[in-house]
Symmetry: C2
Subunit: 386 residues, 2 copies
């Protein structure tokens, strides 16, 4: 990856935002710093100018122990830290300035996770590493649409993100569909922004590693109908916005999503052409929705945290889902070694194995984090519709 | 507007981002604060917890003098400021903590302008005020698509945002098209995020104040082909990324944009069904593109800063654009009273008036800011295709 750092963003601020007139006055005698800078050996240097700060730390997911590291102040008031060489990935980081978490003002790449904004950068050491899959390359690109659909079951219109692969608009083929569900507190933007779905799918398809498919990312919180800025209220989302019972309403109304997609897109029907996957709460939803729609989804992916059927009715529904002619061609559980909800994944895995239901289990390092969910999407999308 | 503040976003941070484990440890004994809070009289209270800070200021575009105001520290380390009652608008603000501009950690609403992120909130005092037009209401909503098109003239594929009004997908009518261009350093996301184009168009159309139309927002920087995160490199955009000569290449390649739109959308053709408008650099481009495509655009809008034709060839082209049967039905210039580039607008206005070309001039308060461009879009979109 080339990280091109233009040095004049502070000037741009003042020219474009009149509110910043005073801030610029205070800043204009300070040379801007470059941060982050990817060095030739793939180590990364972070810089932050703040002569008044007493301590500046760097908190980043490149450090597997989850602890912040101390940055060192130079005579010019610029705090720096250089990492060891890093592998290809998308990395998240923040600065902690005198105890307050803050964004890197030199890096405009920010991602929102629920209500928290964090800086990020991508780094690719070689083609086909993880970072490479999360970056944009000079290949055909699909379309991302943000639409609204009617949900008669919930009595509302709801916003939905839909990825269609390159060439869809001019093509004639009917395409399979992956329904991709977010976690608690998330929304229809989560898989797009944090999940890098468009980049991953464009790259997998261009490399011939995944079939061209439509990826449908609905809003999975039943009492909210759109992401912040597109919902009626300016709510501040929290993980507790998604109550555990939101699975039930999303499960019961999911037919409205399928109906919208199958009547608005050139879709191949039948269970061989439908996949459903989700992370955390969305994993639980994928499990429940596929179970209550036996024979509907040929591929089921559960990322980080699902539990087995809890009632005799749910056990019977899972048995029907797993019966001849209806059993998913792939029933896939992915989880991180250090994920606090790994036990839930293991309970479902063990339950399925005890019952003789085919289940595929994939374990990665780390915990309940987007880094893992991007990996699971990449792996799962490569396995379906083949 | 109801601003619903959920109080648990700090908890969400730790549960969803493992990188934040340490930060949460430091923060977990601090009660979260609500900021901003819209009071019943439409004054707004801002709060920021930082017991270690020496000075905290609020820089916001609700203060017409552009100067920051001092916030007051309470015994709990929470700094506060309450504004006078405000009118309906979308407001931008930041905190300045010991001289460093920083985001409000309690407000996850952030907008990016070029490389600068700023908090925002909307406030509506009554229906049909400006804030009301920038908010989402329970009405039919259009679709926003982020697509890629081929530009044979520039030899690249380029990203483009397209708004289609509610009902487009199920309708049969051919619709008119507004081409809407951003300013220097901007990209195909600018009108969507800062311009609130989807909200404004949904609201205008639902109110019967604008005709249903397609709004096309291309990337107007010829040597860049996509917004940050979707371009090949992780560049840091600046206002100087857009050199003044980028008008020429965008002008020459604009036929590729029209060709893409007219072959991919259900479009009414002819100059009565085409409008072009833009802000700042995009205003100059709207002027130049409409001039070099005489008889193509029935409506031309130039927001904040254009200049008259500079060469005999350009003068002749403008004369042809203004000739019988080709003259735009509306040639509209909007500018802020305090805009540094108002002189450019006046030069074009005076030139047109001296030549007897019909021109409509609209002046608002304030300067070279998005607040004005949202107003101009609202006004201009209400006047076209009628």
């Amino acid at each position: 990856m080339n990280m091109i750092h233009k040095l004049l963003s502070l000037a741009a601020l003042a020219l474009t935002l009149s509110v910043a007139a005073e801030a610029q006055q205070a800043l204009k005698f300070q040379a801007p710093v470059t941060s982050p800078e990817i060095n030739p050996d793939h180590s990364v240097t972070f810089r932050y100018r703040n002569p008044k700060a007493v301590t500046v730390q760097l908190l980043g997911d490149m450090f597997s122990d989850g602890k912040p590291v101390e940055m060192t102040e130079g005579p010019d008031g610029v705090w720096t830290f250089t990492s060891a060489p890093l592998e290809g990935e998308l990395y998240l980081y923040s600065f902690i300035v005198d105890g307050m978490r803050t964004a890197d003002p030199s890096n405009m790449y920010l991602n929102r996770d629920i209500a928290t904004w964090t800086n990020y950068f991508t780094l690719s050491v070689e083609k086909d590493d993880k970072g490479w899959y999360y970056e944009t390359h000079d290949i055909p690109h699909g379309t991302l649409s943000k639409r609204w659909y009617d949900s008669p079951t919930l009595g509302t219109t709801r916003r939905i993100s839909v990825y269609t692969p390159a060439g869809y608009e001019s093509g004639k083929d009917k395409l399979p569909v992956l329904y991709l569900l977010h976690g608690s507190g998330g929304d229809e933007d989560a898989w797009v922004d944090l999940g890098r779905t468009c980049q991953i799918m464009d790259n997998l398809i261009a490399e011939g590693k995944a079939k061209p498919m439509i990826v449908v990312m609905p809003n999975g919180v039943y009492f909210n109908n759109a992401a912040p800025g597109y919902a009626v209220n300016m709510f501040q989302p929290t993980i507790l916005n998604s109550r555990s019972d939101s699975t039930k309403e999303i499960e019961e109304s999911f037919k409205d999503v399928i109906s919208f997609v199958e009547s608005n897109y050139r879709v191949a029907k039948g269970y061989r052409n439908r996949a459903i996957a989700g992370l955390s709460m969305g994993g639980r939803q994928s499990c429940a929705i596929s179970r209550s729609h036996p024979g509907t989804f040929g591929y089921v992916g559960m990322f980080s945290g699902v539990v087995p059927p809890a009632t005799p009715e749910e056990e019977a529904a899972l048995a029907e889902q797993m019966s001849d002619g209806k059993a998913p061609l792939l029933y896939w559980i992915g989880c991180g070694k250090d994920d606090g909800v790994k036990k839930n994944s293991m309970i479902l895995k063990n339950y399925c194995e005890a019952k003789g239901y085919p289940v595929e289990y994939y374990e990665s390092d780390g915990g309940h984090i987007w880094r893992n969910w991007r990996i699971y999407l990449t792996v799962f999308a490569s396995k379906i519709f083949k």
